[in-house]
């Protein structure tokens, strides 16, 4: 009896195994699709931005009952990039998405399909948008994605600290010399414990700040082909020298850029340089009144200028019907009213030239003047085209800044080293 039972168990096990194998073999199934056209859109926003984007999707579905949009949250920016790569490799991309560094995942893999729609009969008037946005969304000179969630750097300042030290809170510094003078007076170790209680200036996107300052000082970042790094010129070294000086004078903390937001929001820094996309969060989170201004000029002889950053709408290959539907949705997102509401809710820049005059935006300015700096600054924005190693470049720049701040090497060396690294990456790829 024992043996029989034993065999029975054995058979059961074998059969389960076979069934399991069969299951693996035959489980390739397809969902039947009926009803409205279904498209899927990826987005990388958590928090309030994500919620608002979803409400936009719902609104669109109500107006267009023939389309169902599945909006998929794809994690933060870096995880989204991972999902996109996996999607390209395995041919499992959505119809569209809001993607960081989108041209690298469209234009670079030969996907310029957005051009046809853009120029087609149901296209968009490119001139209605700031031209810098089209540069931003180009790869090798051709547009391959659409602008949507863009921001610039702005100067945030703590109005209370300004008032306390006898400054007019409505007159923020316009140049770095002014900023430095104000910072010097306000910053300090009040309780004399050897630690600074209030810093002069902190920066949360240090590589972005550096690039913007270089350009404003008359330097350049990279040549138009994306092949030769230009950020180690004399203009750039001058910027990094000044940077070093700010740290040595204890106006800026040493190598703590990831704490910059917390330091500013905790009232421990007078000025903060950060993305204009944070304005909404800052207004609601700070205990003190926040002011914003254009990023100060470093070289007063040169015209005003700033670098933009952001995420773009990418159209991925799919059936013509779905591509058409996705284009329509994108076009709706870029319509003036939706764009303006998007800007109001999220702090991303309204991308149309006419937006700033609209009632909605003017109303916003009246209520929250803090939005103004970021929105107006885009008129002075410039950018370089996306190139494959740009992520690596930003990393090298951050490392260079860190080394200089920690006093490991001199600015000249640091920038040359970063340029050397980038160049060898470019040559290799």
């Amino acid at each position: 009896m024992d043996i029989r039972k034993n065999n029975l168990l054995r058979y059961v096990l074998w059969i389960t195994l076979l069934l399991g194998l069969l299951g693996i073999g035959f489980s390739c199934h397809k969902k039947a699709e009926d009803g409205p056209l279904q498209i899927s859109i990826w987005y990388p926003f958590g928090g309030l931005t994500g919620q608002f984007f979803n409400s936009l999707v719902q609104e669109y579905e109500q107006v267009h009952p023939d389309v169902r949009i599945e909006s998929v949250y794809t994690g933060g920016y870096s995880v989204t990039a991972r999902k996109i790569i996996t999607g390209i490799v395995t041919d499992l991309l959505p119809e569209g998405g809001i993607i960081p560094a989108a041209p690298l995942f469209t234009g670079r893999v030969g996907n310029y399909r957005i051009e046809n729609y853009l120029n087609g009969s149901n296209g968009l008037d490119r001139n209605a948008f700031f031209s810098v946005l089209w540069d931003f969304n180009a790869y090798h000179g051709r547009v391959c994605s659409l602008p949507f969630a863009n921001s610039t750097l702005v100067l945030y300042y703590n109005k209370e600290l300004l008032i306390k030290n006898g400054y007019d809170p409505l007159r923020p510094p316009q140049t770095w010399r002014e900023l430095e003078a104000m910072a010097r007076r306000i910053a300090g170790d009040y309780d004399k414990d050897g630690n600074m209680d209030v810093w002069g200036v902190v920066m949360s996107n240090q590589d972005w700040v550096l690039k913007s300052m270089i350009v404003q000082n008359g330097g350049a970042i990279i040549d138009s082909t994306g092949q030769i790094p230009l950020f180690n010129s004399a203009e750039s070294v001058e910027i990094l020298d000044y940077w070093c000086y700010l740290v040595n004078e204890r106006l800026m903390p040493m190598a703590m850029h990831d704490r910059a937001r917390a330091q500013f929001l905790g009232g421990r820094a007078v000025f903060l340089l950060a993305s204009s996309g944070l304005v909404n969060t800052f207004i609601t989170t700070a205990k003190f009144e926040i002011g914003t201004a254009f990023v100060p000029q470093f070289n007063e002889a040169n015209p005003y200028s700033i670098n933009i950053g952001g995420l773009s709408l990418a159209l991925f290959p799919s059936e013509p019907e779905k591509e058409q539907a996705t284009w329509k949705f994108f076009k709706w997102l870029l319509s003036e009213d939706v764009l303006n509401r998007w800007a109001v809710e999220t702090g991303y820049i309204p991308l149309r030239k006419s937006s700033i005059e609209s009632d909605l935006i003017q109303q916003l300015f009246a209520e929250y003047p803090q939005y103004r700096a970021g929105f107006e600054q885009i008129a002075f924005a410039q950018t370089y085209q996306h190139f494959w190693q740009m992520g690596g470049m930003d990393e090298y720049l951050r490392k260079a800044i860190e080394k200089v701040e920690l006093g490991v090497i001199k600015p000249r060396q640091a920038l040359d080293e970063a340029a050397q690294n980038l160049l060898s990456d470019i040559c290799e790829d």
Binding site: I85, T86, G277, K287
Partner: protein, 279 residues
Amino acid sequence: MLKETLFSSKVLTIITHLLLIVVGVTMIVPFLWMFSTSLKDVTELYEYPPKWIPSHLNWQNYIKAMELAPFGRFYLNSLLVTFCITLGQIITACLAAYVFARIEFPGRDILFVIYLSTMIIPVQVTIIPLFLIVKQLGWFDTYQGLIIPFIARAFPIIFLRQFFMTLPKDLEDAAKVDGCGHLRFLWKILLPTARPALSTIGLFTFLFHWRDYLWPLVITNTTEMRTLPVGLRYFVSEQGTQFHYMMAASIIVTIPIVLIYLFAQKQFIKGVTMTGLKG
């Protein structure tokens, strides 16, 4: 003499408790901060110097956090997926561990080394090929895709093998009596004895996959298929993480597992005494 030992044992007990309390405090302090943050108003998140007690207890943070994403569904998914993975891993591990511990056949040791070495390869490089395979099977955005690739892992196999090897020889003598086959020996004798090891490894497997974030995010697209760790990231954003909601959600998510652990812990001890190994 007797008094002395009693006294010294009392002192020892006190020292033991003191030590355990000191460690316990270090374990718990970060969670107190988490709890305090979960009750804060958004304007207090970055306050400096930091305050331990919020000016007002915002219990509604918990409700709001739960409303931000379908956490009920995430919870159910997490439970289902993790439970199936755990069960699968225990079954596959029992069978494999038995072979590696008690049956000899040519090539066994090499195979074991191969099994073991699967733990060494970092997931970063295998995730894309794995994704390709799962997609080929048509399991993208399905429970199969979340579960089946993980129903066998080297860790529980090695863990159980260790335990099977340490079990005393008396067990084998008992088995010798009748011509009892491997399956029966495993089922009737080894498994009941290895109960504490089974519950331990079950717990580990459960926890490990309970926290898994990357694979569920990559392999699922629809909100209905997503799991809790993915849900917790809904609060993280480049535009400022909603720490108060994130902490609230983390606490809600953690508490049931703590309770399960409290319960499972009793099972370990029971398992040990039931085997009669204690002498």
